[in-house]
């Protein structure tokens, strides 16, 4: 099973970056849970939330946390969001960090079979391939 992690985001733009990151991870076929202040309250406090983060990440889930005061158990990535970054670019940097830790494979983004054939024909017309 793929490993997960708790990704704790901080900074003024953390909520927007968390949203962008969650979308990217879902697009990559990964399971994601958001942990914001509201969820923290429902879980009954930081201690219990940290424990839940640990359980989820052990089971392959990425927990994208913007709740304050979380010190998650297990695999954790703490990120201070650079206020100059767009949410998408901030998410991209986190994706890279997760890949460097071996928690994600960046092999998504290949063509569909139909697109592959369109491109192959184009490249053949151009003389690059046959």
């Amino acid at each position: 099973m793929d490993k997960g992690a708790a990704i704790c985001l901080r900074g003024a733009e953390a909520a927007e970056a968390a949203k962008a990151l969650a979308i990217r991870l879902l697009e990559m076929g990964r399971n994601v849970e958001r942990l914001d202040d509201d969820m923290l309250k429902r879980l009954g406090g930081v201690k219990r939330a940290a424990f839940v983060c640990g359980v989820l990440s052990r089971n392959g889930v990425f927990v994208v946390a913007t709740a304050r005061g979380i010190h998650a158990e297990g695999e954790t990535l703490d990120v201070e969001i650079d206020g100059h970054d767009t949410p998408d670019f901030a998410a991209e940097k986190i994706i890279d960090s997760l890949a460097e830790r071996g928690l994600l494979r960046l092999d998504a983004g290949q063509y569909t079979p139909e697109e592959e054939e369109v491109i192959r024909k184009r490249l053949a017309d151009l003389g690059y391939v046959e």
Partner: protein, 463 residues
């Protein structure tokens, strides 16, 4: 601009631009290009092996060779199966390219038409993808909102030249010029409307022009006819492009370091070597049925248990051995791999041309070319006649040599030397730089921004 450290860097990539038209005795009158060269430095830029758009631009912008990138051409083997070929797009490049590094250091970047940027990935700025996007219905920009914005400003974004393989040259000429103007229109818009520290564009029209019109423009081409109606097409194109470059230079301002680069050059193509037909004749490749007419090797039924090697065509050849325990029906015992490979290298390099004279082929092993060999490389890269000849993968020809292209008219092959020009404000007075190579560009760009060059970049900073 007063010093070497730049506030901004503008890189104008001209795919396939050949040194002879910019620096050599055949050079065209290109005031903007030549002013940059006269103010700064210039030289030929040795491409990678193979000298092909993919992987060349990725090598230039990552500072890594194709072996490190695990990318040996447009189409690469996904695994050791016989039919697992996939196109190398942005997702195939796992190494950081200069815009990734600059983005992570907070610099604003704009990328326009740089090969292997589709599917787009977020950057600290704006990105318009290259001709490897399937069509403009796809999300070919980052951010997505840039697509309608750009199309509103310039009309349709042209990914490439349509209907490239044609004998109808007037229309093709128009379309290639239109592609170039479209790319520069997009560049103008982005330069004017987006804040940037690093701007890189690649213009593909030069490559399309060379392949489509070489025999009309190069007196050294065997099919050249003086006084033909297209004799001036190269000059007209380069000069039109130079005018458009001048617009960008005026917009970029004097405090911008400017580079004009190409990924490889071009030369006259004499014909094609039918590599698979040759492998059949020499007993390396066996087909179950003789094809009826010219047939792509992928469409032939190969008798794998009786086949030791097969090949792919293109501007260079790629040969694959059928190795026991590696390929599904491999026949060459792993212990005999090197012996077989050397036997094949010797045979390929001993080939004579149609005139009986040695062709001067080179068959190269990836492990001798690259620092690391990642992914699934071909067993051999083959340059026929120092790239005077292309590699034809199809079978069903009358002989080993063909003077027609099986995919339509094409009169040029790639050459190893591209171009490099840099005006960085140090007023070097047109110094010619020797010994430059593709992977020097990325370290030079990082150095201009005062960033440390990563140890695993293979090039050197061009001083």
């Amino acid at each position: 601009m007063t010093g070497r450290q730049a506030r901004r860097v503008l890189v104008v990539g001209l795919d396939c631009a050949a040194p002879r038209f910019l620096f050599g005795p055949d050079r065209f009158d290109l005031p903007n290009v030549q002013r940059l060269a006269a103010n700064g430095c210039w030289g030929t830029l040795r491409s990678c092996d193979p000298p092909i758009t993919v992987p060349a631009w990725a090598c230039m912008t990552s500072g890594k060779d194709p072996g490190m990138l695990g990318c040996y051409g447009f189409r690469n083997r996904r695994d050791y199966s016989y039919d697992g070929m996939v196109t190398a797009n942005a997702s195939s490049i796992h190494e950081k390219r200069v815009w990734d590094i600059l983005s992570r250091h907070g610099h604003k970047v704009v990328m326009l038409g740089v090969p292997q940027t589709y599917p787009v990935k977020p950057v600290n700025g704006w990105l318009v993808a290259d001709f490897l996007a399937p069509d403009t219905q796809t999300d070919y920009t980052y951010p997505k909102t840039l697509k309608p914005e750009l199309e509103k400003a310039i009309g349709s974004y042209l990914l490439d030249v349509k209907d490239f393989r044609t004998d109808e040259k007037d229309g093709l000429r128009e379309r290639i010029f239109a592609l170039m103007h479209n790319r520069f229109d997009a560049a103008r818009y982005l330069i004017a409307n987006k804040p940037w520290d690093f701007f890189m564009m690649v213009e593909m029209g030069v490559d399309r022009l060379h392949h489509a019109f070489w025999k009309y423009c190069d007196p050294l081409h065997p099919k050249f006819k003086p006084g033909n109606p297209y004799e001036g097409v190269f000059r007209n194109y380069y000069q039109a492009m130079d005018c458009r470059l001048g617009e960008l230079l005026a917009m970029a301002g004097d405090d911008t370091v400017v580079m004009v680069v190409s990924d490889h050059g071009a030369k006259a193509m004499r014909g094609g070597v039918c590599i698979n037909q040759w492998l059949i004749e020499k007993g390396w490749l066996c087909l179950r049925e003789t094809p009826n007419g010219r047939t792509r090797i992928e469409d032939c039924t190969i008798d794998w248990p009786r086949t030791r090697a097969w090949a792919s065509g293109g501007y260079y050849g790629r040969v694959f051995l059928n190795v026991e325990g590696r390929e599904p029906q491999g026949v060459i015992p792993a212990a005999d791999y090197d012996v077989c490979l050397y036997e094949l290298i010797e045979a390929i390099e001993a080939m004579s041309g149609p005139d009986g004279q040695p062709l001067g082929n080179r068959a190269l092993r990836p492990r001798d070319l690259y620092r690391e060999v990642n992914g699934v490389p071909p067993d051999l890269l083959v340059y026929f006649g120092d790239l005077d000849w292309r590699s034809v993968g199809a079978v069903g020809f009358d002989g080993i040599y063909t003077f027609e292209n099986d995919t339509g008219p094409d009169d040029a092959n790639h050459d190893f030397d591209g171009i490099f020009i840099m005006d960085d404000g140090t007023k070097r007075g047109g110094k010619e730089q020797k010994g430059l190579q593709l992977m020097d560009v990325a370290p030079t760009i990082l150095n201009l921004f005062g960033l440390t060059v990563p140890d695993d970049m293979q090039g050197k900073v061009i001083e």
